[in-house]
């Protein structure tokens, strides 16, 4: 998995690419999310457009990041979720926990509303 970080109107956008299945990949995502919290960047969007699939380890990292950000007054929103990840979010009922948006711009704009 690869992670690229960009800024969109003061919102940190993490663009993930590949498969998210735990191990070193999950560790780097966990570290990146906590780095953002330490820097005070509490509005985060995770772009999943180029993620092939994700297992429960990947979901666990996102949930951990979401909990840590919400505790600090921030949030983590998901954008461009693929069909398979949407299915996994539905199976686990995490579609009720995460705010999910069709694209990055909608997710970023939701922080202003």
């Amino acid at each position: 998995m690869q992670i690229r970080h960009s800024d969109n109107q003061g919102v940190a956008v993490l663009h993930l690419q590949g498969k998210i299945m735990g191990g070193p990949d999950a560790t780097s995502l966990h570290e990146k999310l906590h780095e953002l919290i330490e820097e005070g960047q509490l509005k985060v969007v995770v772009d999943l457009e180029d993620v092939d699939w994700m297992n429960s380890s990947g979901l666990g990292i996102l949930i951990g990041g979401l909990s840590a950000l919400r505790k600090s007054g921030g949030d983590l929103k998901l954008a461009s979720v693929t069909e398979k990840i949407d299915e996994v979010l539905h199976i686990t009922k995490l579609d009720r926990v995460f705010d999910v948006f069709g694209d990055i711009d909608s997710a970023v704009e939701s922080y202003s509303s």
């Binding site: 299945m21 699939w53 297992n55 380890s57």
Partner: protein
């Protein structure tokens, strides 16, 4: 192609990556479509991860065995660990509201949803998970 293959991996996170590569190659050769291949890939990473972490508890002297078999238009995947035996009924319900934001505990739920059948056979010599996917 071979209709069955068995591999044994040491109990570390590399096992998850290696088992996923093994099953990806196997399902491609069997002409599973992309959606089915992803279901199987997710399922094997969940099962091997559970075997490494919860079954073998990352102990270096324990291994995880993965067996892939093609029979009667079905892919049968068996994942065995060498732990003390894992009781699937002891897992907290990951769908109950108080557990929804926990970072773990969803692996078996996902496997059961993506595969056609799943059996968990715990014993004092380890746990065997048998998962079936029809083509």
């Amino acid at each position: 192609m071979k209709t069955s293959i068995e591999k044994r991996y040491p109990s570390n996170q590399d096992a998850v990556v290696k088992a996923e590569r093994l099953v990806e190659k196997f399902t491609r050769k069997l002409d599973f479509d992309e959606d089915q291949r992803v279901d199987v890939a997710i399922a094997i990473t969940e099962a091997v991860n559970n075997a490494v972490e919860h079954g073998n508890r990352l102990q270096a002297d324990r291994t995880v065995t993965v067996r892939l078999e093609w029979r009667d238009s079905r892919l049968v995947i068996t994942v065995r660990d060498q732990g003390e035996g894992f009781d699937p009924d002891a897992i907290d319900d990951p769908l109950s509201p108080e557990n929804l934001t926990r970072p773990d505990g969803r692996g078996l739920l996902i496997v059961r949803s993506l595969m056609d059948s799943v059996e968990v056979n715990p014993s004092s010599e380890g746990t065997e998970v048998v998962m079936v996917k029809k083509r």
